[in-house]
């Protein structure tokens, strides 16, 4: 087994692109689910509209990069409004079904042949990231030390991505310490009590949905820019479910929970992949072949999610009293 490669890819995964964009999606979910108790299963749609907002603005309309970012952010806010107005008055499980349905609608429309001219069908859109890389301050070359090397493009994505993660964490930290954040947590604990104090619960939930959606949508930008393309099937329901796993793993209603959760999630996935692939190649494992290693990792994700919820619903850093897992 090639331990150097396994360790280096694992260390890279801890700070890699996947960790960044899943962390952003998970921070958004943490605002919805962790702090407000909203069971939004449509987070992938926020990433999708942002990524596609940017891609379509730049490639189809031919407008500059910054306008694309603006369009992406605006579509995330619009999606939150469209999603929130009908659903936020519903009970938690209804909200879950409606948001997951809405996310599927968004994905199916993006991949449809009927709108192929705009969204590019199942192949998606590419060639919209030049504006972003034109801003790259790093000259061409490899950065890092030893086996931990990144090209200048990856480094630029990672720097921007981690700045966004840090900013999002700071925003969440400050907001949740504020009176506004305390109202959100109170809504999670007892909606009726908050209403009886004269607060407009619907309005607070909507603000939470928009804020979490906008932070999550940054993950869509990072994905699109890092891979210089967007495809509809990246933003399927499983993305949302993995982001939920990340939030629960790290600890819901904790500022750094989603970030740590994302890093651990991807480290484990990459590590298991490396070790299993190595073991299969060297013949130590015979019940899997090399194409089955990928699915096997995700099987473990499912198993991990079950075990977490059953034995440690608060995750690594969470507080059991702060988890909104009992419907009222």
């Amino acid at each position: 087994m090639d331990w150097i490669t396994i360790i280096s890819t694992t260390v890279k995964a801890a700070i890699g692109v996947e960790t960044v964009w899943y962390a952003l999606a998970a921070i958004g979910i943490n605002i919805h689910f962790g702090y407000t108790g909203l069971l939004n299963f449509g987070q992938s749609a926020f990433l999708a509209v942002a990524g596609y907002g940017l891609a379509v603005t730049v490639t189809v309309l031919g407008l500059p990069f910054w306008i694309g970012i603006g369009v992406g952010l605006l579509s995330a806010v619009l999606l939150a409004l469209v999603l929130g107005i009908p659903t936020l008055r519903l009970r938690a499980d209804y909200l879950a079904i409606v948001t997951i349905a809405a996310a599927e609608i968004v994905r199916l429309v993006f991949r449809s042949v009927a709108f192929k001219d705009v969204f590019g069908g199942s192949d998606g859109r590419r060639g919209f990231s030049d504006g972003f890389y034109a801003l790259n301050p790093f000259p061409e070359g490899e950065y890092g030390f030893g086996w931990l090397l990144f090209g200048e493009r990856t480094l630029w994505v990672l720097v921007v991505g981690w700045i966004l993660v840090a900013l999002s964490c700071a925003i969440v930290f400050l907001l949740m310490k504020s009176p506004w954040g305390r109202v959100l947590k109170a809504i999670r604990e007892d909606e009726d009590a908050v209403r009886s104090l004269g607060k407009n619960v619907f309005s607070y939930k909507m603000q939470s949905l928009i804020l979490g959606g906008v932070i999550g949508c940054l993950g869509g930008f990072i994905y699109g820019l890092a891979y210089a393309s967007v495809q509809p099937d990246i933003f399927g329901t499983e993305t949302t479910f993995f982001a939920y796993t990340i939030v629960i793993l790290g600890g819901a209603a904790r500022v750094f929970g989603p970030v740590v959760g994302s890093a651990i999630f991807w480290v484990l996935l990459v590590l298991v992949n490396g070790v299993l692939s190595g073991a299969v190649e060297s013949g130590a494992i015979t019940f899997l072949d090399s194409t089955q290693v990928g699915p096997f990792r995700f099987l473990l994700v499912g198993l991990g999610l079950i075990l977490l919820l059953v034995f440690r619903p608060q995750g690594i850093f969470g507080d059991k009293r702060e988890i909104a897992i009992d419907a009222r």
């Binding site: 991949r111 099987l299 999610l305 079950i306």
Partner: protein
């Protein structure tokens, strides 16, 4: 027309396949992805006295994922040069024929969804669990039947019966050893919902490992020639499948209305605490519902595998339609799930009269959202159910 050469290429001219039509004049070309294709009929392989109506031997159909596109070359005896061939009258009757055909297909889909939805709805009603792994129970039934069918070589009918019984047993085991234990631990409803997502992911990838990522078909009843009943043309297996589905639904419905256990099940779904205090063994009822729910979800999977193909994501793909049916009818009600599912199935198929087939599910999901806006309790639900 026998022996006519058909050449299929992609839009840009890359060759896909060449086929020759069979004795009935039909041909089929599997394509690996949706998009526009160019179909050319080699005129020189036509009998000398025939020509294509309109004279065009090239068609460019758009193929959508999961839906075969049909290309029809109408033939007619060669006419003398300069004489205009008579145009066949096409008008309102074609539209209604298509509507009838789609209604039939919608009913077929609706009944399959109804089978799956019945179990989901009753499980929700009795335990409060929104089971995201129900789609995987559908897949499980289909794959079990496939395993007995092609793995052991049983005929599909005994294989299906064994699969349904086995799936019922697994449903029982699932509640006995897993969900029941979670309930005893006092796990919250939302926690259980997220656990069910974990179960769904676990099972889905287990299927992928065991079954692989490709599409398969059962060994029997695979390609059946269609028969014409009135305006509807369908393979005989579809009529039989619909008959079985209807019988099962009626039997389950009658059992819910007439038998002691059925009445107990509805009582538990209505109010578990009250049912328990009136002497009903709630745990036993829930276990029976899980057994039955697992069995009929498996049957739904087998029927789905008959009308489409088997794939490890087949259940996941209809899960949201099941949810749509259940929610439309009213979460937790048995008969609401039936009505809602059939409406969803009909809506999906009939809407393809106006929307592209790949977007047909979008319409159904949009209707789900609109219904929740105006009547969140569903068609047969009661107002108090939504908190």
């Amino acid at each position: 027309m026998n022996g006519v050469k058909i050449v299929v290429t992609t839009e840009s001219g890359q060759p896909v396949q060449e086929v020759t039509s069979d004795a009935k004049g039909t041909w089929e070309v599997p394509v690996d992805k949706p998009g526009k294709f160019k179909v050319t009929l080699d005129v020189s392989t036509l009998p000398a006295d025939l020509q294509i109506v309109g004279g065009k031997n090239v068609r460019t159909p758009t193929v959508y994922e999961g839906n075969p596109a049909s290309v029809l070359f109408a033939l007619q005896p060669k006419t003398a040069a300069g004489e205009e061939p008579a145009q066949p009258g096409s008008g309102g009757s074609a539209f209604w024929e298509r509507a009838a055909q789609l209604t039939f297909e919608g009913l077929n889909l609706g009944l399959i969804i109804a089978l799956a939805a019945l179990g989901l709805s009753l499980i929700y009603g009795t335990t409060g669990l929104t089971n995201f792994a129900h789609g995987e129970l559908v897949t499980l039934g289909a794959l079990l039947a496939y395993a007995f069918n092609t793995g052991i070589g049983l005929h599909l009918i005994p294989a299906a019966i064994i699969a349904v019984i086995l799936a019922g047993g697994l449903g029982y085991a699932q509640d006995r050893f897993f969900w029941g234990q979670l309930r005893r631990r006092g796990t919250g409803i939302i926690a259980m919902m997220i656990v069910s997502i974990g179960v769904a992911i676990f099972l889905r990838y287990l299927f992928l490992i065991l079954f692989g990522g490709q599409s398969e078909a059962f060994a029997q009843y695979n390609a059946q020639p269609g028969i014409q009943v009135g305006p509807i043309s369908a393979a005989p297996k579809n009529f039989v499948a619909m008959g079985i589905e209807l019988i099962v639904l009626v039997v389950v419905g009658v059992a819910l209305l007439r038998t002691r256990t059925g009445k107990a099940a509805r009582a538990v779904a209505d109010n578990p605490a009250l049912a328990a205090s009136s002497g009903i063994n709630v745990d036993r009822v829930i276990r029976i519902i899980w057994t039955m729910g697992g069995a009929i979800a498996a049957l739904a999977g087998i029927m789905l595998g008959l009308s489409q193909n088997l794939k490890f994501t087949m259940g996941q793909d209809i899960l949201l339609l099941i949810f749509a049916g259940v929610t439309l009818g009213g979460l937790g009600t048995a008969f609401g799930a039936l009505v809602g599912s059939i409406i969803v199935g009909l809506f999906i198929q009939v809407s393809t009269l106006w929307v592209p087939p790949e977007l047909k599910s979008v319409g159904a999901l949009a209707v789900l959202i609109i219904v929740l806006l105006f009547r969140p309790q569903g068609i047969l639900g009661r107002r108090e159910r939504i908190g």
